[in-house]
């Protein structure tokens, strides 16, 4: 049970790995978890895309709608 991370822990580590290097144990366990878990692979992809898009916020010439689109 404790050998492998839960999806929640995996997501926390995926997020953390965007900001700082993980230690060896975390890295390894995360890799094992990802190899077996499609949900978390999708999460990884989405976190990475969100990270990539983050720097470009505001610089795309969006067609501006009204003030609050919510």
């Amino acid at each position: 049970m404790t050998l492998l991370y839960s999806c929640q822990r995996a997501a926390e580590l995926l997020s953390q790995s965007i900001d700082e290097p993980l230690d060896m144990v975390d890295k390894l366990r995360l890799r094992i978890h990802l190899s077996m878990c499609g949900n978390c692979r999708n999460v990884q992809e989405q976190f990475n895309l969100i990270h990539k898009m983050g720097t470009d916020i505001g610089t795309m010439d969006l067609c501006d709608g009204p003030e609050n689109p919510t």
Partner: protein
């Protein structure tokens, strides 16, 4: 350099900002929206935007080579906001001023079951390759950012938009490293969920 009074034809090639035009007003509104996401007081946000716009007016030709006036303006605003965060007397204020009950709001609530597994399968996203779908996705992301608890959104923006290192964010906001990680994870998980939901409704994401 020729002064352009009518810039409607090719907004991306404008060499002198038309400060009376609709494009300028839209630019200003957009910058204010971004500034408000980043700083707590609306008046301060307006000041930072005003300073940015003044910088553009002072050097109207300086943005040539940049992709567009918007890109250039946002870059200037980014610098102004980063400077503001780094000015020593601003330390902590951004976080301390926050709505106290915001700590209760967690965008990841209900996402996992008691064993930490996803309650619902995580769908995969279509990678936005065409510019149009990238644009769509960006506007979804911006809308979702506004739905995050404001402090969570701000930490995310400090990290991803301003490009601060997490250690610097922790220091500026007097948060523990653990807290910082938690907030960033919540921000990303919240965005991911919101963007998935929004993507489904617009048909942008598979």
């Amino acid at each position: 350099m020729k002064k352009q009074t009518e810039s409607n034809e090719q907004p991306s090639a404008v060499t002198h900002p038309d400060t009376s035009g609709e494009a300028w007003i839209r630019l200003r509104q957009r910058l204010i929206r971004h500034a408000r996401m980043m700083v707590f007081e609306p008046a301060l946000a307006e000041d930072l935007v005003h300073e940015s716009l003044m910088a553009i007016l002072e050097k109207p030709g300086a943005h040539r080579g940049e992709a567009s006036l918007t890109t250039w303006a946002v870059a200037i605003l980014k610098n102004k906001i980063a400077d503001w965060y780094r000015s020593p007397h601003q330390r902590r204020r951004t976080w301390v001023d926050a709505d106290e009950n915001e700590t209760e709001s967690d965008p990841t609530e209900g996402l996992y079951d008691e064993r930490g597994c996803y309650r619902e399968a995580v769908p995969s996203w279509q990678q936005p390759e065409k510019q149009e779908s990238q644009r769509q996705m960006m506007s979804i992301m911006e809308a979702c950012l506004k739905r995050l608890p404001s402090q969570t959104g701000r930490v995310f923006m400090m990290r991803e938009w301003l490009g601060f290192e997490t250690s610097e964010i922790c220091e500026r906001l007097s948060l523990s490293a653990e807290n910082c990680r938690m907030v960033l994870h919540r921000a990303r998980a919240g965005l991911r969920q919101c963007m998935t939901a929004q993507g489904h409704t617009t048909g942008n994401i598979q």
